[in-house]
Amino acid sequence: MSVLPRRILKETQRLMQEPVPGISAKPDEGNARYFHVKVTGPEDSPFEGGLFKLELFLPEDYPMSAPKVRFITKIYHPNIDRLGRICLDILKDKWSPALQIRTVLLSIQALLSAPNPDDPLANDVAELWKVNEIEAIRNAKEWTRMYASEN
């Protein structure tokens, strides 16, 4: 594989130097295109207090195509399925090369704050979220406590 593009180097550098609050992304030792990401659950959301692990991979043609991001920690969220896949437009068709790892992660954090059950990925969760939001939020809190608490 060819050497890392400058952009990735720069992004990585900046991520390390000026980390976004609540988000940490560290490149894998063996593969600089693979990042270990940790996102704290945003305040005032059912995921508050949780620390969610994600993996992020920059494909070969990054930044021309979107990074691949996936939750590793289980999360109860209408736009995130059981495998951790994220339904987020900027990760799909709305990707723009002007976006960066940091922006992507910020978007994901925002997604945690604002679940969008109308564009669901996990249908049962979305259903519950629509039908019984309280119940759903309780579930989400439960899951956060179960799976995403630091200890």
Binding site: S2, R6, R7, E11, D61, M64, S96, P97, L99, Q100
Partner: protein, 1279 residues
């Protein structure tokens, strides 16, 4: 400020804007690669990453968008403010990277000579670094060789001193003894003479006294008688008178009788020398002489003995060697360089780390310099050009001409150290290793600078920093020669050179100089011509005089040094001058031209010289040689082709014996004009003609071929032995027209089955006639017809029938083809045989004669192949080179004629057709061989019964050529039509399984031990089995071939160290072809040599390189039934195939570990079913190819289990297809079934019997005995 920076940063690449393009939405992005990447080619629009607005792309692409000039101004402003370095890539244009084919700013990679992006370049440099590391390791590992040598040299010094003192002592001793003997003898003689004197003197005194007494007595008596007896004074009694009378009578008697030597004293003592005193003095005066044993100077033998010892003493042999090697290398460089003034010496012309002149456009060096703006302009253009063109011979410093002239003569180490083509160059200023011309990298200012830099920057310094041209480009200031404090001198030199070059830069110094040099040379040659009557040495000296001209001191000094070394050699052996002839004897082209002209112009002269012995030629051709040789040398020292052109005649006439031979040979090869060279004989003629004929015919008569082959088959089937039909004969001829190679292989195959059958009874007649037309149809129609009377003498009465018909036809054909031949004279012919026969003294002989052997009742194993045995059978027998006749004749009588091509066509269809294809490619024929074969094969089914019969017959023990039925079966099984054949084969040969392999363990005997005497080895590598089960061993580090009989008794050895004809440098593989020629992989000379059965040089081909027909450490070698030569081109990781004359045929394999790829193939073997078995050493496996290079199978993995290998080396295949592998890492021999399944293994590490240390080559004899080279034990073991 940070925000300001932000504004100058492209959102996509997060880098400073480069050529920012403004989208209609007012967002800007770099044109490349950012904007490029945004393009949606389908919809032909671009979507702004910032605002997601979609814009149509202008007609001419994204560059059609306006440049954001404001932004650009800001960028410039920013640069001004911050003092930031300008973007190194600004102004460059993105191109596709030659490796990853991404668009990027490319620079040309020295390594692969492509335009590559920096990433790929980095990767490449990593590769280079790794390679350097690897090679460095190798160097380190091999360094002990040098230290060994050092130790050896020290030891040699010691031994030399010891030797000298001992010799001195010996001489003293002899002197003492001689003196003592002389003194003793002298004393003895003196004593003798004294004694003699005294005794004789005493005797004489006595005598004297006695005589005195007698005289006085008698006197008194007389007086008394006178006084008293006469007178009667005294009374005498009668008795008294009687007594007195008696006394007087006695006295008278005494006086009368007494005689003594009163004349000369006769008992003189005489001093007689046992030897002639003169001789004795001479003997004593030369009672001994010092002989210096110099094994490398074989040519000394032929030189006149007077000067033999002294030059031998004066010059170390290595000097010759080195010089010649150097020259060889130079020549190689020329061959590759192609251009006249190209890279001259292996290390010449380029400074360390300077970029390589592009191979394709050597003249365009300026381009590069324009790129790298670090040099001041004058310097860059002038110097680089000069240096590139003139290289080391250019007008470089007077000051270091000395070192330079002494330098780079030895290239062997260079090859090992810097195996890559791109040998790192050094400055001209620094001292080089006197032998190798290798500079200390530390001495190179570039390296110094690099290291300093890295220290300063606290970067990780590499062990051997490879200058990185790219960084050089990016940081130009670093490249400008900074004074490195340690090397003040070099800097001065640099400046001086720059100045000088500046001076010459404006003029087209290049050509001018060349002209000048050329004229000088011409003058030289004239000079030397004038000095024709002088001795060669004289002329040499003369020619060297005008050379030291300030402009080209370096050059001249070098040529001087060459001449120095040459001078001594020359009078004794003119050839080395030529052959080793250096820098500029440009390449093969010049060579061939010279040789051809030689043959043309020389004509009879060449012939005459050919016959003269070498020494003769030295003496007698001295005069004619003098003009030639110096000229050539002069030419050689600079710009050869020009000079050579100017005096082709003289140069060619200068060629001495071996040269002449070469030229004649080459003329034959080129078949330029077949008139002059002796080596041109009828065989050659007929061969080439016949081949042409075949080709012709093939084109004409393809259709006919098919049908006729069929018909002929049926004909012969019907016609029993007696009635020799005329049609089959004709058809046979046509059949053979299918194509020589196809037919050859076909018949080879046929031979296999034929020999299997070996039914002698009826075969004599029919097969004989078949051989007749086989041969004639094939090869030498012209030749055969006139000579048929001879052949008939060998006793086949049926011949008469056949002969009548074919003869006229042959002749007519011959006429036709002859004209053809004359039309295109450049037809390559198999001159292996030509040459061979010519060497044999014009005796037109070929393997066909071997056929006769086969007809003889006793079929000895090797008679067919032994060229010696051929001699028995009428040398004027028509012998075409075709071995096919042999095969065809061997076929049993009741086999259809067409089997020759037909049956076999099926059997190994793939192989055959591949050869046919090759043939087609080569001769541009469109052949329908396959079709023909199919037809024939179909018809062959009808004859299957007879075939079965023949196959069922016992196997002959003909080692080299009995076809293995096992492999046959395999091949046959693949063919749908030949079931019967399969069965037959099963029955026939399958009945002799190689149980003996299972029993092998016991050492039969072993040969050798460490040493350089005959019968001893130093690292034996290749081993081969020759005719009569001769054991042929490549005694690698003794640089010779040793031949043993089948019981291990040494028969002969030949070869010595060197790179001229018949000399070797760590030869590796050896093979013996059907006619007993030795084919040798002359490893460090990167060539293949072919020697005749008596060990005389026939030809060599190849040189170092990676193109077709060149080698990089050729290792294993083998030859197949058709004489094709297969070479393991080890460092090129491929197999190359050649015709027996060295013509490149094909290659296969590349570096890698996939199927069909090879990594360091070491040894190779070809089964008689044309399976090519290669030991893929570093992949720990054996691969089997067909002759076309397609993989048939591959087996083995790394390991020490049965069937696994660790660095398998030698491979051999027996006549049944069993494969033997010398599993060197496991120190064992493994035997595999023909289907590659494991049979057994034996052997282990050790030095006892049946134990190995480092296996190399392996071979199998016809009786199943396994020969294996046990390298570290320096022996050959036989199992």
């Amino acid at each position: 400020m940070e925000q300001f920076e932000q504004l100058l940063t492209c959102a996509i690449c997060l880098d400073r804007y480069r050529n920012p393009k403004l989208l209609p939405c007012q967002h800007s992005f770099c044109m490349e690669p950012c904007m490029d990447g945004l393009v949606d080619y389908v919809r032909r629009q671009v979507k702004c990453p910032e605002c997601r607005a979609e814009h149509r792309i202008p007609y001419n692409g994204v560059q059609g968008y306006p440049t954001n000039v404001t932004l650009q101004r800001f960028l410039e402003l920013h640069i001004e403010i911050t003092g930031e370095l300008p973007d190194p890539t600004s102004g460059q244009i993105m191109k596709r990277c030659g490796v990853c084919s991404e668009k990027a700013y490319v620079t040309s990679c020295v390594h692969c000579e492509k335009d590559v992006c920096s990433d790929c370049k980095g990767a490449h440099m990593d590769i280079l670094r790794r390679e350097i590391a690897r090679i460095n390791n190798q160097v380190r590992r091999a360094l002990h060789r040098l230290s060994d040598m050092l130790a050896g040299v020290e030891k040699n010094m010691l031994t030399l001193q010891q030797n000298c003192t001992s010799v001195t002592e010996e001489v003293d001793e002899i002197y003492r003894r001689l003196a003592k003997a002389l003194k003793d003898r002298t004393d003895h003689l003196r004593g003798e003479i004294d004694r003699y004197l005294t005794t004789e003197l005493k005797n004489l005194c006595n005598l004297k006294e006695n005589l005195d007494i007698e005289i006085s007595n008698i006197q008194s008596n007389c007086d008394l008688a006178d006084k008293h007896m006469q007178s009667d004074d005294v009374e005498w009694e009668d008795s008294e008178l009687m007594d007195a009378k008696e006394i007087f009578l006695k006295t008278v008697e005494f006086i009368r009788n007494f005689e003594t030597e009163i004349g000369d004293y006769s008992r003189r003592a005489k001093f007689l020398m046992a030897h002639d005193p003169n001789q004795l003095v001479m003997h004593v005066a030369s009672y001994g002489e010092l002989t210096i044993h110099a094994p490398h100077q074989a040519f000394n033998a032929s030189s006149n003995s007077l000067q033999a010892p002294s030059p031998g003493l004066m010059r170390s042999k290595s000097d010759h060697r080195l010089a010649s090697q150097y020259r060889q290398d130079e020549r190689n460089a020329y061959e590759t360089g192609g251009e006249i003034g190209g890279r001259v010496s292996p290390l010449g012309g380029r400074k360390f780390g300077e970029r390589y002149p592009s191979r394709y456009s050597r003249g365009d060096r300026n381009d590069y310099d324009a790129d790298t703006t670090h040099d001041n302009e004058n310097r860059s253009s002038a110097r680089s050009r000069i240096r590139s063109r003139l290289g080391r011979h250019g007008l470089n410093e007077n000051t270091d001409s000395d070192t330079d002239s002494r330098s780079v003569r030895f290239s062997e180490t260079n090859n090992t150290v810097h195996r890559e083509r791109e040998r790192v160059l050094d400055t001209e200023d620094v001292a080089k290793g006197p032998l190798s011309g290798i500079t200390r990298l530390y001495d190179s200012p570039r390296v110094m600078k690099r290291l300093l830099e890295s220290e300063n920057k606290d970067k990780k310094a590499e062990a051997a920093p490879k200058p990185q041209p790219q960084t050089a480009v990016q940081q130009p200031k670093k490249i400008t020669p900074q004074p490195t404090p340690q090397r003040q001198l070099s800097e001065d030199d640099e400046i001086a050179r720059i100045k000088r070059q500046n001076k010459t830069a404006s003029t087209s110094s290049d050509t001018e100089r060349r002209d000048r040099v050329g004229s000088i040379k011409r003058e030289d040659s004239r000079d030397s011509n004038r000095s024709t009557s002088n001795t060669p040495a004289d002329s040499t000296r003369k020619t060297s005089i005008p050379e030291p001209i300030p402009a080209d001191t370096q050059e001249s000094s070098e040529s001087e040094s060459e001449e120095d070394s040459v001078e001594v050699v020359e009078p004794r052996k003119p050839t080395p001058i030529k052959t080793t002839f250096p820098p500029s004897t440009s390449a093969a082209t010049a060579d061939s031209r010279r040789s051809s002209t030689a043959s043309d112009n020389l004509g009879s002269k060449g012939n005459a010289r050919l016959k003269s012995t070498r020494s003769e030629s030295i003496d007698s051709t001295c005069s004619s040689e003098t003009p030639g040789t110096p000229v050539r040398r002069n030419a050689g020292s600079t710009y050869p082709s020009e000079d050579v052109k100017q005096s082709p005649v003289s140069s060619s006439s200068g060629s001495t014996t071996p040269r002449a031979r070469f030229s004649s040979v080459s003329s034959k090869r080129d078949s330029a004009t077949p008139t002059n060279s002796r080596s041109y004989n009828v065989t050659g003629n007929s061969e080439s003609t016949s081949k042409k004929e075949e080709i012709e015919d093939e084109e004409e008569e393809e259709e006919e071929t098919e049908t006729s082959s069929e018909s002929s088959e049926t004909d012969t089937d019907e016609d029993s032995e007696d009635a020799k039909p005329k049609t089959p004969v004709q058809k046979g001829m046509e059949k053979t027209d299918i194509g020589p190679l196809l037919a050859r292989s076909a018949q080879a195959r046929d031979n296999g089955s034929g020999s299997n059958s070996s039914s002698r009874r009826a075969s004599q007649d029919e097969s004989y006639t078949r051989s007749r037309y086989g041969t004639s149809g094939y090869k030498s129609p012209s030749y055969q017809s006139p000579r048929e009377a001879d052949t008939s003498a060998s006793g086949s009465k049926y011949l008469n029938n056949t002969r009548t018909e074919p003869a006229p036809r042959f002749t007519s054909r011959f006429l036709k083809t002859k004209s053809i031949q004359e039309e295109n004279p450049s037809k390559p012919c198999y001159n292996s045989d030509n040459k061979y026969t010519s060497d044999k003294g014009g005796l037109s002989r070929s393997r066909t004669s071997a056929n006769l052997d086969e007809d003889l009742p006793d079929d000895t194993n090797t008679s067919a192949y032994s060229p010696y045995s051929k001699n028995h059978y009428g040398s004027d027998l028509s012998r075409s080179r075709s071995s096919h006749a042999l095969k065809s004749r061997e076929t049993s009588p009741d086999r259809p004629v067409t089997n020759a091509s037909a049956g076999t066509g099926e059997k190994d269809g793939a192989a055959l057709s591949s050869w046919a294809r090759y043939l087609k490619n080569k001769y541009g024929n469109r052949g329908k061989e396959n079709a023909a074969k199919e037809n024939a094969a179909a018809s062959s089914a009808s004859s299957s019964s007879s075939r079965r019969l023949s196959l069922g017959l016992p196997l002959r023990s003909n080692s080299t050529h009995v076809d293995s039925s096992d492999d046959d079966q395999k091949n046959m099984q693949s063919s749908p039509t030949s079931h019967t054949i399969i069965e037959a084969g099963m029955q026939g040969v399958g009945s002799t399984p190689r149980v003996q392999y299972l029993q092998k363990r016991q050492l039969l005997f072993k040969i050798g031990g460490r040493g350089s005497e005959p019968g001893y080895f130093t690292w034996p590598r290749g081993v081969a089995v020759g005719p009569d089960n001769l054991i042929v061993v490549a005694d690698s580090s003794n640089h010779r071939i040793q031949v043993f009989d089948n019981s291990g008794k040494i028969l002969k050895d030949f070869g010595s160290y060197g790179n001229s004809e018949g000399e070797f440098d760590c030869l590796a593989g050896v093979a013996v072809n059907r006619i007993g020629q030795y084919i040798i992989a002359d490893r460090y000379n990167h060539r293949i040599q072919v020697l005749d059965p008596s060990g005389r040089f026939l030809r060599s081909f190849g040189s170092q390189g990676s193109s077709d027909g060149r080698f990089n450490y050729p290792w294993g070698i083998t030859t197949d039934a058709l004489g094709f030569i297969y070479v393991c081109d080890k460092e090129n990781h491929r197999i190359q195939v050649f015709q027996s004359d060295g013509t490149f045929v094909g290659k296969f394999g590349s570096n890698g570990n996939k199927i069909g790829q090879l990594e360091h193939p070491h040894y190779i073997a070809v089964s008689n079913t044309n399976r090519v078995i290669v030991s893929d050493c570093n992949n720990h496996r054996i691969q089997i190819f067909d002759v076309n290079g397609r993989v048939i199978s591959s087996f083995g993995t790394e390991g020490s289990e049965n069937g696994q290998f660790k660095f398998p080396k030698g491979v051999a295949v027996d006549d049944q297809g069993y494969i033997l592998v010398a599993d060197s890492g496991n120190n064992r021999i493994q035997i595999f079934h023909p289907d590659s399944t494991f049979l057994r293994a034996f052997g282990c590490w050790g030095s006892g019997d049946g134990e190995f240390k480092g296996l190399e080559g392996i071979a199998v004899m016809s009786n199943g005995n396994i020969l294996v080279c046990d390298r570290e034990n320096h022996r050959v073991q036989v199992f």
